[in-house]
Point group: none
Chain length 418, copies 2
């Protein structure tokens, strides 16, 4: 069975100046090809340490993919190190040289001598053309291993891998198996609780596999099935999804690359409803997230950031009595904010956020206290109270996600009631 290791070469990675997005990109591509990746390595522009990384990789992988160190400067030494290690010569590739010369002619720059060095390739290797830069990539088969060398800049590496690199690996792959993935997106349940609910399903499965991932207050499950017949792989996914849905389906809000706000926008459009917001705690974050969805203008016209009591009272008509007796962080204030912003803007749904983001408590209420009001035409206004943990930023982020989730639930519930 083939498995791959990705070695990124570059001292700027070890100094923390840039992040290794190349490893992420290539890993994603390899996962789709069904090639397992067991290790990523990052090493600096140092020939001895690069050599030791190559030897370590040869002991545990049979596809070794290098990124970086193919440039013109003297600290670029990936192919030189590999050539020495495998006792291969570096030879001038006429096509690569011509393409470099053309690049300089086209961009009106003067070609320096060290740019010629980029056209040197490992003797006997298969060349991967660089359509977006100068250094060509290469693939060499030797001693049962595949060595693939790719340039470091993502703008050059990514199209090269997609266009030429994938193909070079697929033809090496003997397995006919198709790999199919599906991501289930959950909100309102933690990673540990979700796993507890479905642990027996996870344990019973090896194909499809079920991989939980938590982040940004959400949890996802990635289901991955392998089968020579893609349709069979898909129905294997359907079956596992059904079993999971029966346990925790109420927390699933979408699939694959969607988001809570994309689902909310879709749900509002389908029902021809508009929304507005009155944001105290969240200071505009809910509306910023909503307007990051292109085309939201048909369901969202605008809203208010009511950070102070003056704005709550003067613009959103929250009663002085409410602010004095209940406080700004209260159920009653959340109700008035949600209802009054809906009528001010003329929207079908008004959502309000009031609470304590910290660092200090407010009106005697502890940090993390959150009230979310949802006013919908023709229905009683509801208020959800949350107690959230974490930093100021985390509390605000999770509050808007909860708000989005509550409105989505309202939309679905009203549909089910009809």
């Amino acid at each position: 069975m083939k498995n791959a290791e990705i070695i990124a070469v570059g001292s700027e990675l070890l100094l923390g100046q840039i992040v290794n997005t190349n490893a992420k990109f290539i890993s994603q591509q390899l996962a789709e090809l069904g090639i397992n990746v067991y290790f990523h390595t990052v090493v600096g522009d140092n020939p001895d340490r690069l050599l030791s990384a190559i030897k370590t990789a040869e002991g545990r992988a049979n596809i070794i993919i290098f990124t970086g160190g193919l440039g013109p400067t003297k600290d670029d030494l990936t192919k030189e190190t590999i050539a020495r290690h495998l006792s291969k010569n570096l030879v001038m590739d006429p096509q690569a040289l011509e393409s470099i010369e053309q690049y300089f002619a086209r961009t009106n720059r003067v070609m320096t001598e060290n740019n010629r060095k980029q056209a040197l390739v490992l003797e006997g290797s298969h060349i991967l053309p660089n359509d977006h830069g100068m250094a060509p990539g290469m693939v060499l088969e030797m001693n049962g291993n595949t060595y693939m060398l790719l340039p470091g800049p993502p703008k050059e590496m990514e199209p090269m891998f997609r266009q030429y690199g994938c193909q070079a690996l697929v033809s090496k792959e003997t397995a006919n198996e198709k790999i199919v993935s599906r991501v289930l997106r959950f909100f309102g349940i933690g990673e540990a609780a979700l796993e507890t609910e479905i642990i027996d399903i996870i344990d019973a499965q090896s194909n499809p596999t079920i991989a939980p991932l938590a982040g940004d207050g959400e949890v996802t499950l990635r289901l991955t099935a392998k089968h020579v017949d893609e349709d069979v792989a898909q129905s294997m996914l359907d079956e596992v999804e059904k079993a999971i849905s029966q346990r925790v389906g109420q927390y699933i809000y979408g699939y694959d690359h969607t988001s809570l706000f994309a689902e909310l926008t879709k749900g509002l459009k389908e029902r021809n409803l508009t929304i507005t917001a009155a944001e105290s705690l969240t200071g505009g974050l809910f509306q910023k997230e909503l307007t990051s969805i292109a085309g939201v203008s048909s369901v969202y016209k605008g809203g208010v950031v009511c950070y102070s009591n003056e704005v709550k009272h003067n613009i959103l008509q929250v009663r002085q009595e409410t602010l004095e007796n209940d406080g700004a962080v209260s159920e009653q204030c959340a109700i008035e904010l949600a209802e009054n912003t809906a009528s001010l803007v003329g929207a079908a749904i008004g959502i309000s956020f009031t609470g304590v983001a910290g660092p200090d408590e407010l009106e005697g209420k502890p940090v993390g206290t959150v009230y979310i009001g949802i006013a919908s035409k023709g229905r009683p206004t509801i208020v959800e109270k949350l107690t959230l943990g974490g930093t100021r930023e985390a509390i605000r982020n999770r509050a808007v996600k909860y708000g989005c989730y509550f409105v989505l639930k309202t939309l679905k519930d009203s549909q089910n009631a009809n």
Copy 2:
């Protein structure tokens, strides 16, 4: 000489689902501490392969920093694997357990049995408290090596490393040289232009070093000086900063960990001025950024998100004539929005954002067209027109930063005029 290897544990990294930002963050921190990093490794949630990665690291580094795999689920096995490898027991840490119990109590959630597992620590290790999550970090000294275990989520790991992790490594550092850094923050000049202006200064320097870094529409220069006497190192930084300031000082807005919005809040507080915003293009992003600064409530009371023409006209009194003749994306509309939001909210300064974030053009104006209006009491309202490139998100992000920068300039200019 001490050198470090960073081992990130998590199959989601090898599947390309997330990028290893932890290695970048820790590398940057170690660079500032003067600790060399020669390798990064990423390995999946697999005990055998993790063990082999540990052994490889022990052969080439004496500080090994792990991130990830400290969570509650059964594929979290970093500390279990290290414990077995070093023949250490895992023991329940009462403080960590209490902190986990408190976390659940505070957030009103039910604690499941697998959450207790997070309070198990390596016997004899020094505990790094987790102020933003549940799993504690730990540091163990053994056989001349330092093993540091950190949680995977950056929101937990980064503050833990800054607050407690650095200190645990510094005390191990034998070198007498002090390393002093200073970050100069620029806005309104690109990285290439900045480098061109000061290339001779950069080339002439080896101590302090000058490292430019671009990101999020801003450029920073990190100056780093080494000297046994910290005061001497500081004056070396002063001298280089002075030379840079003479060339490009007008673009410097702050130092180290500040941000444009933190500087704006400070500037308004110092002058006892309040601000409000009317956001069309930016949909609440400016106010969200402003309210991410704790304590901003003394200078910011609230504002309006005026995404549609209805809200611009009905709530912010932009004249129908302006919307019909000039359009919503126009200088005149920016002026009325800025002035009218200031009088609606009763703030000294009103800022407005109107423009085209894309993906489609609007009113015949191309994507990236941005008007920012700034109305200040007792002065004529100004409008800045920008043409920004990039994605919808990039245009919105850069627009609010420019807006912040323009207001900051107004504040400074009015001070100089007095």
